[in-house]
């Protein structure tokens, strides 16, 4: 097939963009490094040993990266250390580099995600104007809103359409999920504290929808959904794009190089298939959507006289402004048997502190949510290892007393970019394709720590108000890098000197080069999960490219 547009990466952004183009007659070649997710092969949730099997995490399902050194920990923030009543503290003098959680596969990291489908709070899109931090989004919420609607309809988002923070032109396609029994208890706690507790908008079907079944509340989205009710990018956007006949999906094809051409256009894309054979195609339009770690890696690894600092890096901003996930979670035992292993991972949410001026002492918002499944406290093995104390007969008695009693409250907050957080090329050994590996540097600064402190205190307060004992385990990103939401490493903006792409996600210099993934975010939002915004932005990119192609400008 002759392609008008080549898209690299079939995750949240690449898949949505492919749909936006293919559904309007544009011929798309979608190149994805990983394979397709096969529940029958990759999922074990129906077996007794399910808890021993996380989402596949081998070289086949992830891409290589390394970490630069992380910061030393300070006594002053000791209350933000992760700890457990069983394992104690596990981090030494320096912040620990645990993991950048992502998936290499058709559907990208959405295969592993919890299904939260959030719109950004419009107030969080102007952080520079309002607080002189991060950068402003070069487009408004109103410009993005119609694309949110499209994404929500295609994914099948279930939610409560009444949302005073985020105006909407159309209701969610599906009604919100009921709160689980345990989530109701957290809601009671919030209400006691004068806080709200609402349905979390989810890319999880509350009713059968367009040939996919409703969720059965197994709670294990992070291990991959075997039913297909979770709105992963493969089942929603990729499947529809391919069904148009205009999108050729090539999985197992790793893009290894991009060749710049004359006239400020990129010319050629090279990839290596699973058999190791090399291919190349001339790109009329190239859209990169490899995620906020791999997209800058790919651009920086371009070594060409026309792009001496890497492709699209005229501003020197490729890889800069990296933002990770600022997160906290506290878990405690409730006196009542709640059956708290049941339900979708995060059906309830509190947005009261989501506005960027809502947290005292630090700009940037936060949110609070149910967190048992996300803390992986939803099965007998984790209860045995992490909840029930003791050994021998005492341990067994504690298992019986505690199973189903855990409540966890999680919180995610804004992460502001800083000069110690960036992606570059690791000088060490190259990857299997002979390419340099991405290296992650991330520094948690004082505003983040103040915000994190607020998050930790509130999580504990909510649990206490819900009737729980003191926490038995807490986790936070002060001492551990363990990010699921990463953004910002190819920032969008109007000024070519301080950003990589413009408001349409097009390179300031390279006229046929676009980026359609989380790397374009100028700020992270106040704890909103990013995939719906990534999809909306990518659909917008698709619409823009479509128009430019029709006008023969590309």
């Amino acid at each position: 097939m002759e392609a008008d547009v080549v898209i690299v990466g079939a995750g949240a952004g690449g898949a949505a963009c492919a749909w936006a183009l293919a559904s309007h007659g544009v011929r798309v070649l979608l190149l994805e490094s990983g394979g397709e997710y096969l529940p029958a092969h990759d999922n074990r949730l129906h077996l007794a040993d399910w808890e021993q099997h996380p989402f596949p995490d081998d070289d086949k399902h992830t891409l290589p990266y390394r970490f630069g050194p992380l910061q030393p920990l300070q006594l002053q923030w000791d209350q933000l250390r992760s700890w457990s009543h069983v394992f104690g503290r596990r981090v030494g003098a320096n912040r620990r580099a645990q993991k950048y959680h992502h998936v290499r596969g058709v559907g990208g990291s959405t295969l592993h995600f919890s299904g939260e489908a959030h719109r950004l709070n419009p107030a969080a899109m102007q952080m520079h104007t309002r607080f002189a931090v991060a950068a402003d989004w070069p487009l408004t919420y109103e410009q993005l809103e119609p694309f949110y609607v499209i994404a929500e309809q295609l994914i099948g988002v279930a939610g409560d359409s009444h949302d005073p923070l985020r105006p909407r032109s159309r209701d969610y396609p599906l009604p919100a999920h009921d709160h689980s029994y345990a989530s109701q208890k957290i809601g009671l706690g919030c209400r006691k504290l004068g806080m709200s507790w609402t349905a979390n908008p989810l890319a999880i079907l509350s009713r059968p929808w367009q040939g996919r079944p409703a969720c059965n509340y197994c709670g294990q989205c992070a291990r991959g959904c075997p039913r297909g009710d979770k709105g992963t990018a493969d089942l929603t956007f990729v499947a529809r794009a391919v069904a148009t006949g205009n999108c050729l999906l090539r999985s197992g094809c790793h893009v290894s190089g991009i060749k710049p051409g004359g006239d400020d256009r990129v010319e050629q894309v090279r990839w290596i298939d699973v058999q190791g054979a090399e291919h190349a195609v001339t790109a009329r339009v190239l859209i990169i959507a490899c995620g906020a770690v791999q997209t800058p890696r790919l651009l920086l690894s371009v070594n060409d006289a026309a792009a001496p600092r890497g492709l699209a890096n005229e501003s020197g901003q490729v890889g800069r402004n990296f933002m990770e996930t600022l997160a906290w979670g506290s878990s405690a035992l409730h006196p009542e048997a709640l059956g708290s292993h049941r339900g979708v991972p995060a059906d309830g949410i509190c947005w009261d502190f989501n506005a960027p001026d809502a947290v005292p002492g630090a700009p940037g918002g936060v949110r609070f949510n149910v967190g048992m499944a996300e803390a992986d406290l939803a099965g007998p093995i984790n209860y045995a290892r992490r909840v029930a104390a003791g050994w021998g007969h005492v341990h067994r008695a504690n298992m019986k007393k505690s199973f189903g009693h855990v409540l966890s409250v999680g919180s995610i907050g804004e992460f502001l970019p800083n000069d110690g957080s960036y992606i570059d090329l690791d000088p060490g050994a190259p990857d299997q394709y002979g390419q340099p590996v991405a290296r992650i540097f991330s520094r948690v600064d004082e505003p983040e720590l103040r915000r994190l402190d607020f998050m930790a205190r509130k999580c504990r307060e909510i649990l206490a108000a819900a009737g729980c004992d003191r926490p038995f385990e807490e986790f936070g990103t002060y001492d551990t890098f363990s990010a699921t939401h990463v953004f910002g490493s190819c920032r969008m903006g109007r000024d070519a000197r301080s950003s990589v792409v413009d408001e349409n996600c097009r390179s300031h210099r390279w006229r046929n080069l676009y980026i359609a993934d989380a790397s374009v975010f100028p700020s992270s939002g106040g704890g909103e999960s990013p995939s719906l915004t990534i999809a909306a932005l990518a659909i917008r990119v698709g619409a823009h490219v479509r128009d430019r192609l029709a006008a023969r400008e590309l």
Partner: protein, 176 residues
Amino acid sequence: MPVTRRRLLAAFGSSLIAALAAWWWWPRKVEPPTVESTPAASGNAGFRAWIDTLVPAEADFPGAVALGVAERMQELIGEQPAYAALTRAALEWLDERARAQGGNGFATLPEVDRQSIVSAALASAPGSTPRTFFQATLDDALFHTYADESAWVNLGYAGPPQPIGFPDQQRPPGRG
């Protein structure tokens, strides 16, 4: 060399909240014991008795040994030199303690005497062979034991999660 239960688990990744769970799967660092040691005379029997004391059977619970957990663990420990060395040293320690209590090896002791030796292992200095062995093997024994449905009786758990899920999620739990 760090002891990892399995590479897979060491690198376990999970969830939205920066994968809270993943944190707990961090590989334990078990320093190889300084003493050069050979397998304890009581070998497998000692290891089985140890696991049986950590996760014993009860009327409604088969316990670890009946589920084949001791054998499974020995297999995995055998693949990890530092863990294997730790195990050899710890089994010798157990037998010495047993002899000091008048027994002929840990495996020959009655449960109550084995329990007092487990308590002594737990009470020993952090980082010492017995304490490290206790922490590592208890965690592993629980990991394998509760992967068997027969261990779920009377917990209120109606799993595994699929194919039925938990459609009663918004109501107080029944007893599963």
